[in-house]
């Protein structure tokens, strides 16, 4: 008898521990369910600089740099070649034209313009405007005898060194090629003599400009499709990375929501495939350990259920015997009578414990059913108190009539009886049972039943464990009238109703237990 409760308690402690753990997973699941709710916002934020964006940008950048560099270099080379060809052609053909023209010294102003026009007409690659400067003679093939385009630097260079030279000038946005061609007299086999006559040719480079602009357009039009084409490998690369990542995320999410058999198809042999393989291995291990855990838990639960069932049959017999013994105790000698009464009491407690254990087992096995009925709550509570004979002033009531709710009368009776019995046992009389309905800003109105005692209250370090199974607020008092499961059963019953039960202390001392059950007649049954 004395050694009996020990192993049983250990066993049941372990069971309650397992239950607690299981409850933890039950609580964890809605959290996981809530997490995806936040995810879309985070995902949208992450997308702006997500992998796809970064990869595509990187590809575009590489393409832009290479296409840009190639086009720029090509453009520059082509432009320079084009300009060089035009300039060289112009300079050499101008020299030829000047050399082929006969000159008299001193150069005569009369008829000079005609000669210049003749040269200008033969200009290559396009007709020039030719200017001549000799002494004070200024003449041109055009309208003005003196050019406004030719720079003083070119004049100075032509006067200082008898050699041909050119200069590109941009005037009012129009590019000009200006060529200076000093003339020399050939006086001997080697000797040359600067004649003092300098000829200038001015050519508009509009055609070259058109060509150069066309080059620029070609360079740009060549580079842009390159960029567009670069988008495609960028997107493909992003997809090849993102698809496994997305699968991984979905798999992780699916595992989080309890589907532990989730696996990823492993493709290829890259780092992402390694990651997928690792994920699958981890998922497999996790699944195995969770399965083992569940099996162990189920075994323990079944064992507790079986034990209590097995205990009930002999206990029933024992209870019948002890009743007979109790009746006959008066006729026994006092020592034996005390022993017989002790056996009787303890057998009664054992019967209660076994009943409670069976009840808890039903909850753990989710076999507990709610048989609801629409009742007057105040009436139900009053009946509970009457049945337990708690009508002698130790229990005060504040029960406004007219609050009707859909409840399981048997379970609600257990809830109130356990709370009041607990208050009477551990707190102090008088115990107040109050009842009220309260509207909630969110959700349906709730039924609030409060059980308040006048004792010292619950110690703060005990409060979080008050509903644990076999939890003793006073460690020294290992044996009490209760089974140690009363509050746990109360909590399970309230939960079955979709409500909550809270323990707390009043400011002036005294524990208060608050039961809140939503007044949802149609849903309370589910």
């Amino acid at each position: 008898m004395t050694s009996g409760p020990g192993p049983a308690r250990r066993l049941l402690r372990g069971l309650s521990g397992a239950g607690g753990r299981r409850r933890g997973t039950d609580d964890g699941t809605p959290d996981d369910g809530g997490a995806p709710g936040d995810a879309p916002a985070g995902r949208a934020r992450a997308r702006a600089f997500g992998l796809r964006t970064r990869l595509v940008f990187a590809f575009l950048l590489v393409a832009a740099v290479s296409a840009g560099t190639t086009s720029a270099l090509t453009y520059r080379e082509a432009r320079n070649a084009l300009l060089k060809t035009a300039q060289d052609t112009a300079v050499s053909s101008f020299r030829d034209q000047v050399q082929q023209t006969g000159w008299t010294l001193p150069v005569r102003g009369e008829g000079l313009e005609e000669v210049l026009r003749d040269i200008a007409r033969k200009g290559k690659p396009r007709p020039w405007v030719v200017f001549a400067e000799y002494g004070s003679v200024r003449a041109s093939s055009g309208e003005n005898p003196v050019s406004t385009v030719i720079t003083p630097e070119l004049r100075r260079a032509a006067r200082a060194h008898p050699s041909g030279s050119f200069e590109r000038v941009v005037k009012d946005g129009v590019p000009y090629l200006t060529i200076a061609m000093p003339t020399v007299l050939r006086t001997g086999p080697e000797g040359v003599l600067p004649s003092g006559l300098v000829l200038y040719a001015v050519m508009r480079m509009t055609d070259e400009q058109v060509n150069v602009d066309a080059l620029l357009v070609a360079a740009r039009d060549g580079a842009l499709p390159g960029l567009v084409i670069a988008l495609i490998p960028g997107l493909i690369a992003a997809r090849s990375v993102l698809r496994p990542v997305r699968e991984l995320r979905q798999a992780a999410q699916s595992m989080g929501s309890g589907r532990l058999d989730t696996r990823i198809t492993v493709r290829g042999s890259d780092e992402l495939a390694d990651l997928a393989r690792t994920f699958n291995d981890s998922a497999g291990k996790l699944e195995r350990s969770v399965r083992e855990l569940r099996e162990a838990e189920a075994r323990a639960r079944r064992f507790a259920s079986d034990v209590s069932h097995e205990l009930r049959t002999p206990l029933t017999g024992m209870l019948a015997v002890t009743e007979v013994l109790d009746e006959d105790a008066g006729r026994l000698d006092p020592d034996t009578a005390r022993a017989v009464r002790l056996v009787s009491t303890e057998t009664g407690k054992l019967a209660v414990l076994v009943e409670d254990l069976m009840e808890i087992s039903r909850f753990d096995a989710r076999a507990a059913e709610l048989n609801t009925d629409e009742v007057d709550v105040a009436e139900t509570i009053r009946k509970t108190l009457q049945n337990r004979h708690w009508t002698d002033g130790r229990v005060r009531t504040e029960l406004p009539s007219g609050i009707r709710a859909r409840l399981d009368p048997r379970r609600f009776d257990i809830v109130i009886a356990n709370l009041v019995g607990n208050a009477l046992r551990h707190g102090g009389a008088p115990v107040t049972v109050s009842l009220r309905g309260e509207a909630r800003s969110s959700g349906p109105p709730v039924l609030i039943a409060q059980v308040t005692d006048s004792g010292p209250g619950i110690r703060p370090d005990v409060l979080p464990h008050i509903f644990d199974r076999f939890y003793k607020a006073d460690a020294a008092r290992t044996r009490s009238a209760g089974s140690g499961l009363g509050l746990a059963i109360t909590q399970e019953n309230v939960r079955l109703h979709g409500g909550t039960v809270r323990a707390g202390n009043l400011p002036g001392g005294g524990a208060v237990f608050t039961v809140e059950i939503p007044l949802r007649p149609e849903e309370a049954g589910g």
Binding site: R76, R95, Y134, V170
Partner: protein, 195 residues
């Protein structure tokens, strides 16, 4: 990282393009000058050097015939006869006298002028070529004292080109006042490089 790479890309793009379109350039040398034919016949034509307004010396071609036609102040110049009008090539003395007679109408029309004083009437001058042919010595009928650099170059170049086709001879001048000067013409860029 991306931002820095972008900046590098933009910077290199700007550097590579180096400005689109056709840009201005400095003065760029492109080959030699145009060597023109001036139809100088050394037997009948003279090369006289006058200067333009900016101080540069320019050669003009004058045929011997025109010397008589356009003397200083319109008349023929004394001292031409001793050398002979038909001597070939044109004697240097005659060329110097033509130079001293100054630019003609055409030369003046082209903006050419002289810094030399006109030769006195009945002027005489002597031109000697010492053995070797690299030097020409000339006694001039004008005073050299007070003549500017342009005037001396006119004289030297005229004499040098009259003496030789390449005009590289060293000319020693002695004036009526006894002042002497010497030099080379140096208008030929090739000779300038060589010396």
């Amino acid at each position: 990282m991306c931002r820095r790479a972008g900046a590098v890309a933009v910077a290199s793009g700007v550097l590579l393009l180096g400005g689109c379109g056709i840009q201005e350039t400095d003065v760029i040398e492109a080959g030699g000058p145009a060597s023109v034919q001036a139809f100088v016949d050394r037997d009948y034509d003279m090369l006289l050097f006058f200067h333009s307004r900016d101080g540069g010396i320019s050669p003009v071609v004058r045929s011997t015939g025109s010397t008589f036609e356009y003397g200083p102040e319109g008349g023929p110049v004394d001292g031409q006869d001793p050398t002979g009008a038909d001597a070939v090539p044109v004697p240097t003395e005659k060329v110097v006298l033509a130079l001293l007679s100054g630019p003609d109408e055409q030369d003046r029309a082209a903006g050419l002028s002289t810094s030399l004083p006109p030769a006195p009437r009945a002027a005489t001058l002597r031109v000697e070529v010492p053995p070797g042919g690299e030097e020409v010595m000339a006694d001039l009928p004008i005073a050299l004292d007070g003549l500017g650099r342009t005037a001396l170059r006119q004289l030297i170049c005229t004499i040098a080109y009259s003496h030789g086709a390449d005009g590289r001879a060293t000319v020693r001048l002695t004036g009526r006042d006894g002042v002497s000067a010497s030099g080379t013409c140096g208008l030929d860029p090739a000779s300038g490089q060589r010396s």
